[in-house]
Assembly symmetry: C3
Homo-oligomer: 332 residues x 3
Amino acid sequence: MQSPETFPAFADEASLQLRGNGRLRHLLTLKGLQHDILLELLDAAQQFVTPAGSIAARNDSLRGRTVANLFFEPSTRTRASFDLAGKRLGADVLNLDVNTSSRKKGESILDTIYTLQAMQVDVMVIRDASAGVPAFIARHVEDHVSILNAGESDISHPTQGLLDLLTIRQRFADFAGLKVAIVGDVAHSRVARSAAYGLHTMGVTDIRLVSPAALAPGRDEMPFAERIDDLDRGLRGVNVVMALRIQRERIADLDGIPDTGEYFANYGISAARLAIAADDVIVMHPGPMNRGIEIESTLADSARSVITQQVTNGVAVRMAVLEHVLQSMAAS
Amino acid sequence: MQSPETFPAFADEASLQLRGNGRLRHLLTLKGLQHDILLELLDAAQQFVTPAGSIAARNDSLRGRTVANLFFEPSTRTRASFDLAGKRLGADVLNLDVNTSSRKKGESILDTIYTLQAMQVDVMVIRDASAGVPAFIARHVEDHVSILNAGESDISHPTQGLLDLLTIRQRFADFAGLKVAIVGDVAHSRVARSAAYGLHTMGVTDIRLVSPAALAPGRDEMPFAERIDDLDRGLRGVNVVMALRIQRERIADLDGIPDTGEYFANYGISAARLAIAADDVIVMHPGPMNRGIEIESTLADSARSVITQQVTNGVAVRMAVLEHVLQSMAAS
Amino acid sequence: MQSPETFPAFADEASLQLRGNGRLRHLLTLKGLQHDILLELLDAAQQFVTPAGSIAARNDSLRGRTVANLFFEPSTRTRASFDLAGKRLGADVLNLDVNTSSRKKGESILDTIYTLQAMQVDVMVIRDASAGVPAFIARHVEDHVSILNAGESDISHPTQGLLDLLTIRQRFADFAGLKVAIVGDVAHSRVARSAAYGLHTMGVTDIRLVSPAALAPGRDEMPFAERIDDLDRGLRGVNVVMALRIQRERIADLDGIPDTGEYFANYGISAARLAIAADDVIVMHPGPMNRGIEIESTLADSARSVITQQVTNGVAVRMAVLEHVLQSMAAS
């Protein structure tokens, strides 16, 4: 693991999210999150995974607790996933779309947070387009409130990272020897960053960030990973491919890639391109997919795809995180 | 009942909604739905009806189950009705307004459905302005998911049809000898179609579709019903009048009916016009009403009106359908 | 207390909200609400207040009951407060944002209400920008439905008034000798009106309405209170200061107060201005605050501020009111 000094901007988040007893209080970032806590969360999440077609796991461990979903950016799937996670643990769930009400009156984010805190909300799930918002909120709430980052700018999406790790672990017993390619608009992807930090902590040494040069992450980021701009080189021998969602506007700005068809030809993940990967390769995507742009549609629906399993694991991971931060409070 | 061959476009829905054991899995359409299943649903719904002013019926038969309301068209009453039906059976209910989030990112309907399925949603309640969407979804979901049509284009609104049948049955012991007039914009009414098919299956032989010629349904539709363009002829001797909601824009397009006042004079249901109906006539409307356009306001609030009873029955019917499709799964 | 005749416009609300047995059925206004009922509600609410940082109070007294939040005006905090109050009593809560659905179809308020009533909703929580709407609705619903006013034009916000009273009572054992200043845009404030009527009924005789002349309430309103346009005179010796939210547009219209800075200099509540108040003075604000305009930001976060306690009390008050109106029904 990188020492905290290597990531000055993140050092604070990594320590901020722990209680004095070393347990997780907030979940802000996977960067710097200890291996034993990651493992514990994955083990707990696995307990909430039931086979496809069976009834969802459920208990009442959060009965009497309140979870508020504060989404300052629109979202269907992540919000639904947190909503179900809270409800399946018996919590009261408050869904606030803050775009459409508070901000009309110019209420500051902090005053909204103080209000929810005073209403005895126990966990606030935050999505925001601006960097630093979850940590900013975490620095200001009282001891009895936990903050979960549900997507922060291009920077962090830790529950997505956890669900990616869980999905990989369900297929591969050991992380140590894995080769993983994360492909697409890495520069703007919080999914890529959270996955990369999580994989690094779990011991994966061959992490490849594959993208056009214009969409590569900063040179000082994720030094443990290799930057590659050629897809064939990136896919050679990999066990895991994570395709990233790309916004069409970003493609329009790329030199030498005039349209989405050309993007697919260069960076789209397809069965044909995967001939070069390991035989046991699995294909992941955080959703929602642009079928035919960053991923071949038939591949997304094939046996190699674990994309729907990622969604199932997402609810399980969020249940595990909710339980963990509330139990760590009781134990503190 | 019409043979399936008579309705090629619908044949698939009618069989698609049944399990191998002949039980209802999805509720897509009343067209072709067997008489015994209709009866069973009406009997079950009646058990959930409590007198006005009493506390709503409630049980925990859906505890641990998840119902997602996916409304691709705005709705207050139908969505609230399904929301309450799910909650009063103890289900976790997920309300998704898909206009405002997923579609912004261009996610396809099917990928939204696969996502909810992977989140172990048991029942998806779908409203969509496009024809065929509920059946399309039903064809793609896994065995453990049930699809309920909550309003589909001009075509089908089966829970509305069921609540209409239940309301009629609460007043009239037997369907066989009833005369029923469905009045207004039949051409564009999913309410009219679902009611007509349901009435036909229940044995009503005198079904009148009363509308200006321009708003009559297609010649090949509902051959068991009579098309009438004169309201007095349509109302003569009827026991049941269903007034349909009309959109003002549609009136503007009618020849010889220059405004809403003229529409009311020609096709509005009023106490005066009902002098020609049976003494025991009841008046129905699916809501929301345009008072003074398709229905006289005082009539809507009179003792002949069963409009609020329809709303009460709507929750009961939706509870019955939710229980039925989940129990039929357990039995399969 | 003023005799009902003094307030012809309100006389009806005050009696309308009581059952024949003298118990509260609706909560429409604090104006004319009896002292014993106020006391009873405050006592009941106090039972729901738990210390900051502890788990929220909860019981299942409303299990099987349905509460509908009908907000015809946008709101985050009041709606969230009612939502949590209902859920923490075990009710099924239906949140309807009526702007975005029913009104699109032109459904009248009353038909929406009749629909919810027919769905066996027990309590409807109404916020509306127009005067008289909650009372209008209360006049039309059946005996088994209770209406709670969650904010009505500039006129009434009774649960806010109750939470203000509860907050004051937690600091001061007795209302009788208190001096209270309500400062800001009194003319347009439902918060000011509900607080003033509540304080008056609780026996406070020194109530000061402090505002620029242009924002003073009508001469015939609240005759028990003193109108003051000088802040220093208004604050002299007071135990309680309630700062009101002001809209920036209103400041722009004030003579001699060209901007928000000048407004703060003249009517903003700050630690310096409070030197003239009693030593034990507390500062209140209904939220959301315009920090630096009607209230000094550091003062809002200081030990004198009870603003977050107001929010906590808000949930408790709403739980008490929900329980009260449903129990009064059972007893009637």
